[in-house]
Symmetry: C2
Subunit: 532 residues, 2 copies
Amino acid sequence: MGTDRCFWGWGFEGAGLDATEQRALAQRVQPFIPIESDPIIPPTPDEIHLRSPRIRPPDSIASWCRVDAASRAGHTYGKSFADVVRALERRWERPPDVVAAPPDEAGVVAVLEWASRIDAVVIPYGGGSSVVGGVEAPRGDDRPVISCDLSRLDRVLEVDTASRAALIQAGVLGPSLEAQLRPYELTLRHYPQSFEVSSLGGWIATRSGGHYATLHTHIDDFVESVKAVTPAGLWESRRLPGSGAGPSPDRLLLGSEGILGVITCAWMRLQDRPRFRASAVARFATFEAGARAARALAQSGLWPANCRLLDAGEALMTGAGSGEAHLLLIGFESADHAVDDAMARAAMLARDHGGAIEIRDRSASATGPGRTDAADQWRSAFLRAPYIRDSLVCLGLISETFETAITWDRFDVFVSEIKASAEEALRGAGAWPAIVTCRLTHVYPDGAAPYFTILAPGRGSSRVAQWRDVKAAVMTAINDGGGTVTHHHSVGRDHRAGYDLERPALFAAQLRAAKKVVDPGAMLNPGVLIDP
Amino acid sequence: MGTDRCFWGWGFEGAGLDATEQRALAQRVQPFIPIESDPIIPPTPDEIHLRSPRIRPPDSIASWCRVDAASRAGHTYGKSFADVVRALERRWERPPDVVAAPPDEAGVVAVLEWASRIDAVVIPYGGGSSVVGGVEAPRGDDRPVISCDLSRLDRVLEVDTASRAALIQAGVLGPSLEAQLRPYELTLRHYPQSFEVSSLGGWIATRSGGHYATLHTHIDDFVESVKAVTPAGLWESRRLPGSGAGPSPDRLLLGSEGILGVITCAWMRLQDRPRFRASAVARFATFEAGARAARALAQSGLWPANCRLLDAGEALMTGAGSGEAHLLLIGFESADHAVDDAMARAAMLARDHGGAIEIRDRSASATGPGRTDAADQWRSAFLRAPYIRDSLVCLGLISETFETAITWDRFDVFVSEIKASAEEALRGAGAWPAIVTCRLTHVYPDGAAPYFTILAPGRGSSRVAQWRDVKAAVMTAINDGGGTVTHHHSVGRDHRAGYDLERPALFAAQLRAAKKVVDPGAMLNPGVLIDP
């Protein structure tokens, strides 16, 4: 695996499926969805043809600004289905004119000053793994575009072991962040699927969902304070373990998706590295029974680190199961105390709801990793999934995920309605036969976050249009059912239609007003979340 | 104890200390602080003399508007030290012209419409227990003033037992709220010191701190969605167990202290009533050692419900201890599983840091309340404290509490600096000999919330001025030390000086802009949090 980022698809250059793996994948999918054409060959850098940059960086910052085609193409899109398709079609619409990669916070200030002078749009760019159109230039805005790549702000600046907190630069990617914390025996323990290619600042800006399936599900609760550069100056909150002084300033930046400032660093709450673990898999005859068990666990106050329910189809597709049972993966971990009793109680709750339990590694839990095969299998499939997605796209398929959250009282009806609406939309779009599977990524005392995966045949050059139709239908169904348009993928440009229905109208007006204070020229990621 | 609210001091008419208790209190204080004069006799309603109302409610709402002196006097202030002194001095400055007590949400809308028409100030009033000047009329603003009393919005409207959540009107006080939930075997489990006389809407508006000493310390995490009436229309968020769609709308209303809308109801996350309990007291030779034990507990992932450290002076004054040791009160509770193992591990951690442990009721923990004498003693003193405070004020003393939060790395130095600055300010103000004690009300993995209690001799009619000097000095010291001006008492008018130094300047501008969207006439609680 290389360390260069792939400019057309997920992750790192050369880390995707090789030809043999891709053939095996096609054979695996074939029984469900006919694959009719040869795989699309991904573009090579010499196939990139972009409009010429409309601006030239001033000498003072030119040394860390890039205008080469590969850099600009690599920063044109995020990594959604539509992004990969467009790149495979050798289409880079509205590429940034310049990719600025400031070496420090002063550099970020310089970028905003320059952008302000020339009336340019600035798109904060962390790991670039957005699957919602969060890092691409707006349509219908002919200002020049600067992608502000924060990858050089990649250091842990200070560690406070007493408070278990660290001041961390926003551009650091997951693996480097964890490597820098390891000497202190500390961990942020935030593992979104994009872990290897997403940044701390991106997690904060998009309210990323992480490792813990219960309790502290989003990055939100691990943010102690944030610093951002805005066109109106520096925005910095105070390091506090808790406060009741007015509305939380941090919570305004959390989820602001680049429209309220460029996050440069944050004090983050850390964890001791876990030493005790226990895990189990519970098998259920119905998804609803599994969900009731997940609910009991979420309401028990046991706070399992893992509590992920896979429907039978999801279990089959990820290799975690045979497709006959619905699987609830349960895991506990602690740096302080044994978790076997908690695991035993959780198993009892799962049994109460009809689960057949398989506990693994209980005796080894004080030393070993204590993971079950199914959980292991699922985890590696989880991290590999985006690469597989790219291969599926190369095979001409539509591969998409969407996620939401809903309270328990409406859960069963909601999930089946969303699934039905997705299937109906896929049929309507001619993307059939399709597979729609569901898992729960996070569970709460008052509800859960269902996550749906779609695999369907695409129709050549109208694949993106088919995808848009399905997304629109699903967003409508989610809104009608009372869910959220996104539990942790964020809004970006692709979820605007759903978001506009969901948030209080007056809140959107307040967000616009708050943006105007820090960004009167509407240069920061315009069109994401709100129309400025 | 009556059910009529006391118009000059804390709580309910007749629930304060009787003459015998007051004499005993004076004798208890005398050895530390000389008491030189006879107790001040509280005012009777016939001693209230207010300026005449400058406005008259329209006929359409007149039936639930009050203009009598006792109602207006009772809504002139909150319940801070300065509020009680002013009432004892028979001074009601800037009383509301009208106390409107709408019977429903439509009534709240009508109040805002009327206020808008006549250009009046509206002060949302829940339980009226603010100790920070949060419910009094602004100085230097000669618009008429309407106190919007929400006490008639006092019902639990809907209970969703599957999600363990309820839609609750904002004006309900703690005891009635809990009584309405009891038939469902559910509880909000939010017990601020003001529990009996504060409202759900007030808790949300001020980010109230509650029952749990760790994990879910503030009301914030129990809010599923909120509804508010604003001059620009209704503001209502969606019921969701979790979301990542943009900045959390709820978090803007949480802590808005009445400046962004009148909260009328909220969906709240509830708890099952606990069945298992265990508790212990750990005695420490130094406060610092006790704090290290509290830190270990906060970082253990055991999440004790109680983890409150009382310094020796605080233990003595509240009757929880003899004044020789610093006490850490530890408690676990659960509706789902026994907590004895958690208690045992917590005791081990306390011992590791030098604590001498006394565990009570372990064997009875599955059925009995499992409380220790010291914890019981402390809890009843906790609820009684505000009434005692009133008696101390009647005895001519200065009695004040202030609270903050700080990360662990700075904890020891910070606490001793704040204590020293309070003592120096008290000396400087001639309020000496004084007692300054400290406890930790809430602890976090990354820090703690120290809470200070001051008792000092007052100098007749300059008591409020002395109090202001001390508060100003302490706010400066807290700010210099990097703490927050309030962990859960809120900002109001009294903490503005500290708050103005604490929050990011650009955030204050954003808050002003957000206010202007919903309250262009700046009628809602102007001067609280920000100058509109």
